[in-house]
Subunit: 451 residues, 2 copies
């Protein structure tokens, strides 16, 4: 049976199976979901076993477990390590979801639910592609290992030491990852660059109690004033990061790179209109794809302090909070970047206020040379299925672990993504276009058979 | 029996009675407490009846009802209208309360709970003082009316039309209010100035969905960036409000006024240390009491947007909010002030972002001439009980309705406060020093007998 027929005949059954996994709310950022993390890992281990994989293990880390499996019966052939993650993003604001995030639902040709595209849906493609080859041909043409973690959405903090400890067990000729996007519908892409990431929580404090704005207003520091003043100081009027030394290690865009970006042919007006915006906003002198692919950022992801209820409350808050992440490029050092931000905050904090900075994620940017033969094979595999060869792109996201994979395992990393940028990953109404689920299965089969 | 003995013999019983009222969570800012507002009004009406007052009515308004009562059996004598409020502030953050806000508890010589000082405790003093004179002497030496409202903490929006409608019924020679503070323990004060108030809710929006900071970060507007930039622009680097025209109508401080403020002898270092602050913060060139008593403010009471949960979430929020109030002085016009702020926001909003401004409270500042005989009598009444005559001060708070009382009823307003500034009104662990409950009862009796 052709692989097309094979997958077509099992489509409904396989989507039902994926939905089981999507129903488990394995949110790694929230400790109340610890048990769901365990359930999602257990479900995965079972599914790998049913797919015909061997040596399945739920391997402990200092945090959430890694699920491992392999099939090593092609001596002399390359070994491909598939990486993915079974944890998902939080779901608030819940009221903006059309269908509940953990009740996956197909509407039209899209599967809706948290984790559908990031990353359960994409990880599931690899499992089902391997299962298909095993069912159709009795064995695999290459050796495969799977390493699926549960902390990607909180920075993969425990994976680098895990890779170090198990680097012999995980040794491979290439790491294969599906956690990125096509350029757009019908236009596949292999990402050859990812931004690095740092995360921080900033807490600004003033008095030892909340105060009445009548009795004290105008004469004492207000934690919210001190916070917004600090936060506003982090960018200049043109949207450039104003932290001294922040851009150190950021490569200048060469004419060649600008040409590569231009090839993507992104219609910025279409993006702007799609987002319902009057204007895009970013660093002057760069296009949208350059800003996202080659420039670093400092973003506020959350800010809160004082009264949030209905109506008003004339309070001067004693504490205010901000959640901040930076996307890094080139050789920007995550730790040094946080040092610089801390120094900037120290220099700009208002009299009477003080702050604490709690550091979390740290990941260098990732870059790979697209001329590597395995990347060329991957581009061809897409070509065979999509009818158009994959472009080599740079993505603005971060998969913090990519840099560690290439450093520890000394292997090329192939980012073979099947998502689309407008699939609301990390937002309400996350979804996965089933066209790319179907084509993804065939592309992975093609890749494993030709690599 | 002396009034001291009278109150001493009933102290425990009266505090138990007050606690019943404090247990009703009559938070006017939160609609889920509508029923509690009704219960607090009903409790008050019963208590006024038991105290011997007459013509008790729970009078409807477009919002929460006004509780009215009177005792008009002293022809030819002055009529005193007692004003107070039975609604209270919200209680969050709840986890910072030592005892629950609506389970009043005496610890040491203080009564803890929401509303103890602002304003159920202070209103209760008037009821019990009137009851005492009626019990001891069979009648009152003056005519009294009580007008106790349920919307003070949300700006008394419906009281001005109520006063207009019922201005004959409420006609009086003076309005007596206990909703302010002593200067400090043992130092009574009569407030002759209150700041005005305006309230606004600012909502900043960008894209039509939350976005992933990897796929979009650096190339689209972030509602939080736009918000903090707007909010920071509202003050200059020295803490002065940067909105054009904001200070119009603010009187210059005369040498005489500065002298009056200096008489209060406030130890700013003691205030600073008590609040656990490294430094106080406010407009340059003014002392603490001048900043609070004679200068306007623009305060952030709440700011929120994006992810607030545990851990991190790499989201670019599409919406962010701020709650803002201004304290006004002199002839500053609340509506015009909001117009000016809106104009400022329009001029400073980032490209790609837009905002909405929802206006709420509006109150002019209030000022009264301390040389009025009735204020002099009130200062003497304090002197008879506290052993030291009340100082005439200006308070930084707002009782939005004071200006309306003096305008509609054409009567002087006597702000005879029994609170203390450090009693955490509008904050966790609100309390009332029972020393001033005891002395307050005697001071009100003295005032009613001598006015």
């Amino acid at each position: 049976m052709s692989y097309s027929d094979y997958f077509a005949s099992r489509r409904e059954e396989q989507l039902e199976e994926l939905k089981q996994w999507l129903r488990i709310p394995s949110i790694s950022a929230l400790s109340e979901h610890k048990q769901d993390i365990q359930s999602a890992a257990a479900w995965l281990a079972d599914t790998l076993k049913r797919a015909g994989l061997e040596n399945i293990e739920i391997m402990p880390t200092a945090g959430n477990p890694v699920v491992y499996a392999d099939y090593l019966h092609a001596p002399g052939k390359p070994t491909i390590l598939v990486y993915g993650h079974y944890d998902v993003q939080p779901v608030d604001p819940l009221n903006l979801w059309t269908s509940p995030p953990f009740e996956p639902e197909i509407r039209g040709d899209k599967l809706y639910g948290r984790g559908t595209t990031d990353d359960k849906g994409q990880t599931f493609i690899h499992i089902k592609a391997i299962e298909a080859i095993l069912k159709q041909e009795g064995t695999l043409p290459v050796n495969v290992k799977l390493c699926i973690e549960g902390e990607e959405e909180i920075g993969s903090i425990n994976l680098p030491p895990f890779l170090e400890t198990h680097k012999d067990k995980l040794a491979c000729d290439a790491v294969l990852v599906s956690d990125t996007s096509l350029l757009e519908r019908g236009r596949p892409a292999i990402c050859t660059g990812l931004r690095g990431l740092t995360g921080m929580e900033l807490t600004v404090s003033t008095a030892n109690t909340d105060l009445h704005s009548g009795s004290y207003g105008g004469a004492v520091p207000n934690a919210l004033h001190a916070l917004v003043s600090l936060l506003d100081s982090l960018h200049d009027e043109k949207g450039k990061v104003a932290v001294e030394g922040f851009y150190e290690g950021v490569p200048e865009l060469s004419a060649l790179m600008r040409e590569e970006f231009a090839k993507q042919g992104l219609d910025e007006n279409k993006v702007r209109e799609g987002l319902g915006l009057d204007a895009l906003y970013g660093e002057e002198g760069y296009s949208f794809v350059e800003r996202v692919g080659a420039r670093p950022t400092l973003e506020l992801n959350g800010v809160y302090g004082g009264f949030q209820g209905e109506g008003s409350k004339t309070v001067i808050p004693k504490v205010a909070h901000a959640k901040i992440t930076c996307r890094l490029v080139g050789k920007q050092d995550p730790e040094l970047t946080m040092d610089r931000i801390e120094k900037h905050l120290n220099a700009h904090i208002q009299p009477g206020a003080r702050f604490e900075l709690k550091r979390s994620e740290r990941a260098f940017a990732f870059n790979i040379d697209p001329s590597h033969p395995i990347l060329q094979t991957a581009a061809d595999a897409y070509g065979a299925v999509y009818g158009t060869r994959a472009l080599f792109t740079k993505d603005g996201g971060s998969i913090p672990i990519m840099q560690a994979f290439s450093r520890v395992l000394q292997s090329p990393v192939v980012l073979m993504g099947f998502g689309l940028d407008d699939e609301n990953l990390h937002a309400p109404n996350e979804h996965f276009n089933l066209e790319n689920f179907d084509k993804g299965l065939l592309t992975v089969v093609e890749f494993l058979k030709t690599v």
